[in-house]
């Protein structure tokens, strides 16, 4: 973690996103502050991954605005990293994958080996340093994706369902790494389908349904009893396929 001033808080003001005629994110407003793990949950098609991509700048909103209040003229994306649901490994070694990311962030050549060693050690991948990244298992590749992001010392880390399709032991390792990254001072904003994971990792929970933010609350309060009836149904494990006549804003 750098000692530089944080680019947070991140504020979304009436953000909308449409693809063609379909409105996928609707009038979404919220603020992400530093030092907490924000976990976005909701059924398929709720817009969780879209929301992460909008925040990270991979997509531009069709309406509203996204403001990094602490950026103060700096390029916010320079202080962020993102790990995708399906890890994307470049066709080179494990260490070279991290080196590539560091070179893009203009980290001096001499400083890179120590950062690479540290990131691999923290994610338990030291012995794979010279292996081709694409021969690793999916769980190991996801750890490498986290290591690559961690080496950048981001102020904000976006995680898009980082443990989807992983078995419980691989999930456990990934969650430990996420926790360590958070403890090192990085703001974590992640999506998950796994309510158990949300309980374990979240400091605050955002519940999305059909592109709308229906509830944003501290984790304990949310899991003790969400105010929104759709969120209550989701926690009970009901399938939210049915139409609602009205949607209550949070």
């Amino acid at each position: 973690m750098t000692a530089e001033r944080s680019i947070l808080p991140l504020e979304l003001r009436q953000v909308g996103f449409s693809a063609g005629r379909k409105l996928l994110i609707k009038e979404l407003s919220c603020t992400f502050s530093a030092n907490s793990r924000s976990v976005i949950i909701g059924p398929n098609g709720a817009g969780k991954s879209l929301l992460l991509r909008l925040c990270h700048g991979l997509l531009a909103p069709s309406a509203g605005s996204i403001v990094w209040h602490g950026a103060a003229g700096r390029e916010p994306s320079f202080y962020q990293a993102m790990v995708f649901q399906r890890p994307v490994m470049l066709r080179r070694s494990v260490a070279a994958n991290i080196n590539f990311a560091l070179s893009l962030r203009r980290v001096p050549r001499g400083a890179r080996p120590a950062l690479i060693r540290d990131a691999l050690k923290r994610t338990g991948l030291s012995r794979f340093a010279r292996h081709q990244a694409r021969v690793l298992s999916i769980g190991e590749q996801q750890r490498l994706a986290l290591a690559r992001s961690w080496a950048l010392r981001p102020q904000v880390l976006f995680l898009d369902e980082p443990t989807a399709s992983l078995d419980p032991s691989a999930t456990h390792v990934i969650e430990e790494v996420i926790d360590a990254i958070h403890r090192a001072g990085t703001k974590v904003i992640m999506t998950t389908h796994d309510l158990g994971q949300a309980r374990r990792l979240a400091d605050e929970v955002l519940f999305l349904h059909r592109g709308r933010l229906l509830e944003m609350a501290p984790s304990e309060a949310f899991f003790a009893g969400p105010r929104n009836d759709l969120a209550q149904a989701f926690l009970r494990g009901e399938l939210l396929w049915w139409q609602r006549r009205e949607l209550t804003p949070p």
Partner: protein, 235 residues
């Protein structure tokens, strides 16, 4: 059949005894094709990658034209280069007509669209996989382009080999702009055409054997290289 048998035997004899004329023709053929493919790769790889990567007005038209140019008739290319390099043409003053350089130019024009079109396809597929990750890491377009070319290098080798295949087998264009002059611009394909018309089947077959062996050797080496690399990178 006896003629064919004796011609084949004479051909093998020429190959085995490293006939001087044969060697000269083979070396010139290789020199022209290798230089042409090298230059065509320098031009075609970035063009193909750029068309795959960048969105600009007319991009689809460019892609269609690149694909169409893959089937460019060699005699037409030969004719155009001939007109450009002939004494009355705009580049006549350079005195390149009927030289190996003219043959290289013609082959570059034939091979570049092949490499560019195949590169576009390879890079486009790779970009689908890499785009979000590279943008997330902050890769600028030029760096993204270089990364895609490097990571797609083994697949792109196939594109370059396809270009080499076209160049080494080409006869129409090099015949027009090279003139098939003995000891100057005579290459394997033009020599085969000439020797067949003269009835010297031995030399023609000898050259044919070398051309086929060369093609198999180059493609075999590339196949092994690509296979080894892919095994190393397999998921």
């Amino acid at each position: 059949m006896t003629d064919f048998g004796s011609a084949l035997a004479a051909a093998f004899s020429l190959v085995i005894h490293l006939d001087r004329d044969l060697g000269e023709i083979v070396l010139l053929s290789l020199r022209v094709s290798v230089i042409a493919v090298f230059v065509a790769a320098l031009i075609g790889l970035p063009i193909g990658a750029a068309v795959a990567l960048f969105r600009f007005p007319g991009r689809t038209v460019v892609a269609v034209i690149l694909n169409a140019l893959m089937g460019l008739p060699p005699v037409v290319v030969g004719l155009i280069v001939y007109l450009l390099l002939s004494r009355a043409g705009p580049f006549g003053v350079l005195g390149l007509l009927f030289t190996p350089t003219a043959m290289v130019i013609a082959q570059i024009l034939l091979v570049t669209p092949i490499i560019a079109a195949l590169t576009r396809q390879v890079i486009e597929d790779l970009w689908v996989e890499y785009e979000e990750q590279l943008r997330s890491l902050g890769a600028k377009p030029r760096r993204a382009l270089a990364t895609l070319l490097w990571d797609g290098r083994f697949s792109l080798l196939t594109a370059v080999l396809a270009g080499f295949g076209r160049a080494s087998a080409e006869v129409g264009a090099v015949m027009i702009v090279g003139g098939n002059i003995d000891h100057v611009t005579r290459v394997m394909t033009t020599a085969i055409a000439l020797e067949v018309s003269k009835g010297d089947l031995a030399l023609a077959l000898g050259l044919g054997i070398i051309l086929v062996v060369l093609s198999i050797a180059v493609n075999g080496a590339a196949f092994v290289l690509k296979g080894t690399a892919e095994r190393g990178q397999a998921r």
